[in-house]
Structure formats: structure tokens, C-alpha cells
Amino acid sequence: MTTRAPAPARPGPAAVVIDATGLHYRVLNERIHAAVAAGARSIVLEGVCGQRYIGDGLEGDLAIEVRGVPGSDLGAFMRGPRIDVRANAQDGVGNTMSDGLVAVHGDAGDIPGHSMRGGRVYIRGDAGYRVGIHMKAYGDEFPVVIVGGTVRDFVGEYMAGGLLVVLGLPGGHGRPPGRANDAGRLLGDFAGTGMHGGAILVRGAVDPRCVGREVAIDPAGPADLAALGRFLPEFCAAFGLDAAPVMAGPFQRLSPRSNRPYGALYAY
């Protein structure tokens, strides 16, 4: 398992500051790449508003702080850097990312962790639909998505590997007014539909009617708690949370009943 030490969360005094105000995403990303090529290891992006593809494909030891709401596909295909978003993020955070860390200090939109191969996506608040769709693990590559608040329908859809964690902590603002404290709605519906690998750990009760038929619900076991012990302290540190009460659980484990749920679907 890849356990590269993350870059510091706070950029040091040597940070390169780029003002993204009004810049097209292509121009902004060219400036980021130019700064990296010139040796920057810490970059602060000011005035971000909707620019797509920030951090995409970047490699190695690098910290990026995003001030403002980044556009879709933040950190896609990324291999190693750490991105801190000091706001909400849009759709597709960490799309097909293979190493590094994205820490979203607000809420995230739909499909964070889409097709992720490795690294960590941490979301402090709530996340949208299809969190971790088609995540997969292979060899040393092991993707982890942790959502501090709640998720909507289809979490872990077609999930093939890695770890998804839903903590149900207060503090997210992504849900519609009046529905923020909808009891028992940590997961939305159709959790784990098509899931055939990996595990979803949920801190709190799971309504079996909200879970796909191909998914088993069990109390978390020692291996699950060990995995939480590896990643939750880093999650809590990223957002200044006390890890002990978060670790206390209790956690439920959602895992696939079969590694080939649709093996007989089209075979007559």
C-alpha cells in the first residue's frame, strides 16, 4: 500500500501565489505547470471561481492551496501532490487519481473519487451522488475516500476496490434546507449498487432498504478498524478535528456478497 508522506497542509513562506481571478482554466493551468517546472513546491491559488482541471496530471512532492470554488475534475489523474480546497468543490474531485491527497474543507458535488486508483480524497462536509463510483484497487494502489458528513444515492456504485468511509458528522451544508438532519439518510438510496470489491464503512446505523441487493451489511471487523486507524487520523488532522470521538464509531461495513454480481444477468 502506498503511504507516501503528505506535503504540509499550510504552504510555507516560499509559496508561489497565482491570482486566478478571471483567468480561463487553460491559462491558469499553464501558469501552475510553469511554476512547477520552475521548481515551486508550494502554490497558492487566489480568486479561483470555477476553473476546471486544477492539479490534473501533476506528480510528486507539491502542495496546492485553492482559495475559492474550483471547477470540475479537480486533481484528475494526479500522482502525488496534495491539494487543499478552502471552499466547496464541484463535480468529479479526484477523477482517476492515482496518488496524493485532496482535502476539501467544505462540501463536494457529485462523483468525487470517480474511478480513483490510489491516493486519498477527504471531504469535510457533505458529498453528492455516486461518491466513489468505480473506484478500484490493484497491487499497491489503494484509493481512499472519506466523507465527513453525508452522501446521496449510489455511493460506491460499481465499486471494485479501495475504501469508502462516511462519518455522518455535522458541519456539512450540502443538503437542501430542512433536510439536513434527515435521520437515517447518511447514505441516500441504492448504496453499493453493482459493488463487487472494496468496502464502505459507515459511522452510524444503515437502513438495509437503502442498500443494493448485492451488498452485505455487517459490524466493522478488526481489519476495518485497522484501516480506519491508518487513515482517520490524517483526515481529522487535515480539518482540525479530534480523532478519538470519530474513531469511536460504531461502524458498519458494507461489502459485496459476490465479486461478480451480474455474472448471470445476461446469460440465459
Binding site: 480561463h24 482554466y25 471561481c49 470555477g50 476546471r52 475559492g68 470554488v69 471547477g71 470540475s72 466547496n88 464541484q90 463535480d91 462540501d107 458535488g109 457529485d110 453528492g128 451522488y129 455516486r130 446521496r152 444515492d153 449510489f154 451544508h173 450540502g174 443538503r175 437542501p176 434546507p177 433536510r179 438510496d189 441504492f190 432498504r209
Partner: protein
């Protein structure tokens, strides 16, 4: 019956394709304040990546105070002859109070610009009587719009409300916004659309918003039930002539809300019907019976496929997703102004610090209504 023989000339889109989806944005003042068009223009233009230059449009409410009591018809016509032919049909059924070209500014990039004309008019009482069966003025307007769009070759009514107007064409949001001088209008409800056509041709009439009476509607997605919905609507006198799937949703709102008296929550339950598994789980037997009845009665109005839509009748701004949330939608509020858009950044660029910002639930409408 004749059908419209107009053949829109599609713009080949193979060279334009980008991995994207349409962009939607809308805002409403609940206090009825007039908001400058500059805001919707900047919000829509911020989502440049969601379109590919093959369509953009705006709808604005409250823009014609001098003719607030009259119908405002916006027509697009291939030729001046087509406009005159459409005008003859209008004169048969309407008293025209004023008419003029829709004001535009030259934008070099725009091509195949049709003749664009607006008429402020009143439907004659005898035209309403001719519809028969206890018909009302709006029924006569629907019949008139359908007749022109089906039977007058090369002429289309693309806006037919009161004190509102739709402005749209083939171009990107900047070009269409500048062309129609959108930043110069002030409206209490705005919706905008940046198009990335997938399964339908790109032509001026196929751009969004789609409208009928006071309705305007913009859509991101694909309506795979288009054929079913279209046939269903035909049985109620709505004819789809604009060669884009979205058209059916504009007419479905008119049928369900205006004619059948459903509120937006019920209309959403028809179009984005809850799954039977969710209906079976419903604990309140009355709610279960209602949901089952809506699905049974309105099967032909179920909209399948991915969609996010914004719709307005001038009194409300409504956002609605398909029931499994296959397209993005974000809502926000600050003071008396509410926003709904495809992307949070499209809201933040015109309202940096909303009091509340959230993602609506799939299949559940976000309804913001002007205070009476």
C-alpha cells in the same frame, strides 16, 4: 393535416465536440425587483466549457411593462415572406397593438440569422370562441402557436407570454447575449442556457429556452422518452416542431400545471416519478395511493433519461433533476434573490457570499416563488 415542411439547416458539430454538457443558470427576485441582465449574462458566460457554440439563450420576465397586458410574440422566420405569411395568421386571430424587429446588435460570428420580429397583441374573443369547449384565452394562444409552427413554412413563434420574452440562437452565450443586448434588459426572473447539442440538430429554433405562453424552460440532458411524450402531448393538441427533445418538457409543464392544475411538486412526481420501491416504502397510505395514481394516470408524461431543467412561469423559478441525478444542479439564496445553476461557481461569480447554498435532491423540485 399538413405538417411543417420547414427543414432547419443543421450545423455539423463533429468539429466542435468537447466532453461537456449544457449549462443552466437562473435567478429570481422574490420581491419582484428587476435584476439587470448583466448578472445572468456573466453567470452563463462563466460556464463557457459547458457549451460548444451551437446554441445559447435567455428568458426574461418583467421586460415589457409598456405592453404588460398584451401577449408578446417573438417570431423567427427564414424569410420576410415567411414572416408576412405568419403575420396574416396573427391578424386573423389577434389585434396587433405594436410590432417591430427584435432589437439586436451586430455580432460577426453569428450565421444564418433569421428574421426576428416581436408583436404585442391581444387574441380576439372570436378566436377563443372558435376553439370551443369552454376554451380560455391561453388555449387559443396554444392553438395559434401550434398552427404557425406546424403550417407556416419557415416561421416559428418561440415566445408567447405576457411581459416576458425568450431570446435565443446558434452561438455561444457571449455572442447571443450581445446580439440580443441581454445586459440592457432588467427582469425579476431570468433563466439562461448554454447548449452542447448531442442527439438533435443545431439551429436557431432548437436553442433553449423553449417556451409557450408564460413558460420558459432550459434543459441539460437527453430525454429518451421523447417519442412517448410527444405522442402523449399530441393527444392534447401540442405539436412538437422544433426538433429538440426539450420541447416536450415545456409543453408538459403547461399541460400538467396550467391545464390540469397540478402544483410543481405533483408535476415533478409525474415527470421524475419516484421508483416503485420508494413508493412501496412510503408509510403514509394516502401518499402511497397518490404516488401510485400519478404514475398510473400520467405514464405518458414520465420523462426518462438524464435531465436537469430550470422552468419559469414568471411567478416561480423551479429547478428539477431526473430521479437518479444524472445532471448537476446547485441552488442558493441571498436575501430576496435565489439562484439555481449547473455549477456552484456560476452562482458565486455573481453572488460571492450566499446565505445558503445546497444541492437539491434528485426528483425533488426546488421551487422559489415571487411573494404576492
Amino acid at each position: 393535416m399538413l405538417i411543417n415542411v420547414h427543414r432547419p439547416s443543421p450545423v455539423p458539430d463533429l468539429d466542435f465536440k468537447v466532453p461537456s454538457g449544457c449549462g443552466l443558470t437562473g435567478l429570481i427576485s422574490q420581491k419582484g425587483e428587476l435584476l439587470p441582465g448583466d448578472a445572468i449574462y456573466r453567470s452563463l458566460c462563466s460556464m463557457e466549457e459547458r457549451g460548444n457554440g451551437l446554441g445559447a439563450g435567455y428568458a426574461a420576465y418583467g421586460i415589457y411593462p409598456d405592453f404588460a397586458a398584451n401577449r408578446a410574440f417573438h417570431l423567427m422566420c427564414d424569410t420576410e415572406d415567411a414572416r408576412r405569411a405568419a403575420e396574416a395568421v396573427l391578424r386573423r386571430d389577434c389585434t396587433i397593438r405594436h410590432d417591430e424587429p427584435i432589437p439586436t446588435s451586430p455580432v460577426k460570428a453569428l450565421k444564418n440569422i433569421p428574421v426576428l420580429w416581436r408583436y404585442f397583441l391581444d387574441i380576439k374573443p372570436e378566436a377563443v370562441e372558435r376553439v370551443g369547449g369552454g376554451a380560455t384565452e391561453p388555449d387559443a394562444v396554444v392553438r395559434l402557436v401550434m398552427e404557425i409552427n406546424r403550417k407556416v413554412d419557415g416561421a416559428f413563434v418561440f415566445s408567447s407570454g405576457r411581459n416576458m420574452g425568450i431570446f435565443k440562437g446558434v452561438g455561444n452565450p457571449e455572442e447571443i447575449g450581445e446580439f440580443f443586448r441581454i445586459p440592457a434588459y432588467r427582469a425579476n426572473v431570468w433563466i439562461g442556457h448554454n447548449r452542447f447539442p448531442t442527439n438533435s440538430v443545431s439551429w436557431w429554433g432548437g436553442a433553449h429556452p423553449f417556451g409557450l405562453l408564460d413558460w420558459s424552460l432550459v434543459h441539460n440532458g437527453e430525454i429518451s422518452s421523447y417519442g412517448t411524450n410527444r405522442r402523449y402531448l399530441e393527444s392534447y393538441g401540442y405539436w412538437c416542431t422544433l426538433q429538440t427533445d426539450t420541447e416536450v418538457m415545456a409543453y408538459l409543464f403547461d399541460l400538467l400545471v396550467r391545464r390540469h392544475g397540478l402544483d410543481f411538486d405533483l408535476a415533478a412526481q409525474v415527470m421524475a416519478a419516484p421508483f416503485w420501491t420508494r413508493i412501496e416504502r412510503e408509510e403514509d397510505p394516502e401518499a402511497r395511493r397518490l404516488s401510485s395514481a400519478l404514475r398510473a394516470v400520467y405514464g405518458g408524461a414520465l420523462v426518462s433519461g438524464p435531465f436537469a431543467v430550470l422552468v419559469s412561469d414568471g411567478k416561480s423559478l423551479v429547478g428539477l433533476n431526473d430521479r437518479i441525478k444524472l445532471r448537476p444542479l446547485v441552488a442558493a439564496r441571498k436575501g430576496s434573490v435565489s439562484y439555481i445553476a449547473s455549477e456552484e461557481a456560476a452562482i458565486r461569480c455573481i453572488c460571492p457570499d450566499p446565505e445558503a447554498l445546497w444541492m437539491p435532491d434528485a426528483g425533488v423540485p426546488t421551487v422559489v416563488t415571487v411573494e404576492a
